[in-house]
């Protein structure tokens, strides 16, 4: 008698439950609503020092594009030109914390403390003329920063089908 394949079981039972500790070790993402931001804080003066030591070599001393020079990293601070930077293109400040903590400095990603990342955010946002020099950054203040470019962003409005959009 020929039968066909059995129904899938409710669960295959492979894999293990992940503990909260195991999750916390990897769960480093930060959302615009602030979900994921850690304790700690940072300020502009500290940010300036950390930036000079750990970032300036690739992103220029003031973070601005240098005409005719190809730096190892992209410009981070709004300059004269139309180059896309944090100041004129980034919709959320939380992205800055998330990205810098996970991926920068390029040569030693994941090496910064949370306070260092908060300070770098404070400095970069201030350099981009979004926040003041005295603004402290922490889990409470960072999500409240209103980014100039946010209003420009729209979700994909292509609808599929024949239209070229």
């Amino acid at each position: 008698p020929v039968k066909t394949e059995p129904q899938w079981p409710k669960t295959f039972g492979y894999g293990k439950t992940a503990t909260q500790q195991e999750i916390a070790k990897l769960d480093i993402d930060v959302r615009p609503d602030g979900k994921g931001l850690p304790a700690g804080s940072g300020n502009v003066p500290n940010g300036a020092i950390i930036y000079a030591n750990k970032c300036a070599a690739c992103h220029a001393a003031d973070g601005k594009e240098i005409k005719g020079v190809k730096l190892p990293g992209p410009p981070l601070v709004i300059g004269d030109g139309k180059t896309k930077t944090i100041g004129n293109y980034w919709p959320y400040a939380t992205t800055l914390f998330d990205y810098v903590r996970r991926a920068m400095p390029y040569n030693a990603p994941g090496s910064l403390t949370n306070d260092e990342v908060y300070s770098l955010c404070a400095w970069l946002l201030n350099q981009n003329k979004i926040t003041t020099a005295s603004q402290v950054m922490n889990a409470h203040t960072l999500p409240q920063v209103k980014m100039p470019a946010q209003k420009l962003f729209i979700v994909d409005n292509r609808k599929g089908g024949p239209e070229v959009k």
Partner: protein, 388 residues
């Protein structure tokens, strides 16, 4: 020196090939190397990707069909290729689920598996500006493989995902710890976690030991070296979906532009190939991130007339589809080009149509214009770069 530079010398081959000599005088008069453990390329065939610091491009003009050899699959990574021990590897899935879980590679391989052939294309896959550009240089950031793995929905079912979940975050285990937010419906539709490519373990450059595969969607969303998925009720607005992979559309910036619109290109004849007067089989690739290719048209008179090309079957969804069109060239200078139509009725646009739709400041993402080749009287073929 020549031989050592270009010969893929295996120990078996080395015995027979003298330094500086690529062939023997008469191969019918001298036994060759015996069967080996791993095959070789002919020393006369040296297909290579074209690398920059951040990507390397498939030599599409040198390929003959729709499978890209795994070692020629395009690369785009943001912090190099991580060296991952498959025995240490774990995929964590957590967030809006009944039971957060971690899966070893062995676990992933035990689940019901699926195989599908589809293309991956970088959303920034367009370069122009010079006449002496190859297909590889123009749009070599797309390749195709036969992928095997487990449907993401199979895993999500195992964890019991909260029905209110609308997005998930996919995170890579490379030094960029790259993240993208993906709408949940893709997980229920056709998302896979792939651990095999073209029959064998996935290659390190393509995400070893496991990657996300989102057929038809921006290459960047197909997160490689996948280490974590977090199920959520909102997108995360990561750097790769705000600062990058977004593009100006008139006075706005479009983001979460997932599907790759339909596209095609003639790969033969193309620069730097040369043709001879007479019958020429025009060949190329066409694909769509929205489904099947249903038609490819070829023009051999600069777009005045269009002729339907043959499609190589089986035509698969969201897959590179090879097309061919027989043309009798009379030796006069002309322009040849192709355009594809997919099953949603979308026809590959001209650059002008794209600019009309999106504005002048069109950026470099999701650029899929019809591209033309100039066939010169001497049989040389040059790219026709268009201003934008």
């Amino acid at each position: 020196a020549l031989a050592t530079a270009i010969l893929p010398v295996t120990s078996a081959f080395a015995k027979y090939v003298q330094i500086g000599v690529l062939t023997v005088p008469d191969p019918t008069k001298q036994p060759g190397p015996l069967p080996g453990k791993v095959g070789t390329r002919s020393p006369f065939e040296v297909p290579v990707k074209k690398p920059s610091d951040i990507s390397s491009r498939s030599p599409l003009q040198d390929l003959y069909s729709t499978i890209t050899p795994s070692d020629l699959h395009f690369e785009r990574h943001h912090a190099g290729v991580p060296a991952i021990d498959p025995n240490q590897y774990e995929l964590l899935i957590h967030g809006m689920v009944d039971r957060p879980m971690k899966f070893s590679l062995h676990d992933l391989k035990r689940f019901p598996s699926v195989t599908r052939t589809c293309f991956i294309e970088c959303a920034g896959n367009f370069r122009t500006g010079k006449e002496d550009m190859t297909v590889q240089e123009i749009l070599g950031l797309t390749s195709q493989s036969e992928w095997t793995g487990v449907m993401l929905s199979t895993l999500f079912r195992e964890l019991r995902v909260d029905p209110k979940a609308t997005w998930f975050l996919a995170e890579g285990g490379d030094a960029a710890v790259l993240t993208r937010s993906i709408p949940m419906h893709k997980a229920w539709d056709d998302a896979m976690i792939a651990y095999a490519q073209n029959g064998e373990a996935i290659r390190p450059e393509q995400g070893y030991p496991a990657r996300l595969l989102l057929p038809g969607w921006e290459g960047n969303t197909n997160v490689k070296w996948l280490r974590r998925i977090e199920i959520s009720d909102a997108p995360y607005f990561t750097r790769e979906e705000t600062s990058k992979y977004t593009y100006p559309v008139k006075d706005k910036i479009r983001m979460f532009s997932f599907e790759m619109d339909a596209r095609s290109i003639i790969t033969y004849p193309s620069f730097p190939q040369k043709v001879e007067r007479g019958w020429i089989e025009i060949r190329g690739l066409a694909w769509s991130g929205r489904g099947k290719v249903i038609k490819v048209e070829v023009s051999t008179d600069a777009g005045k007339n269009w002729n339907e090309a043959r499609l190589q079957g089986p035509v698969l969804e969201k897959a590179h589809t090879y097309f061919r069109y027989l043309w009798q060239w009379n030796g006069a200078e002309t322009e040849i080009m192709s355009r594809v139509t997919d099953e949603t009725g979308y026809t590959q646009p001209t650059l002008k149509q794209l600019i009309d739709a999106r504005g002048k400041d069109i950026g470099g993402y999701h650029m899929n214009p019809v591209t033309a080749w100039r066939v010169k009287r001497d049989g040389s073929v040059l790219f026709k770069p268009e201003k934008h």
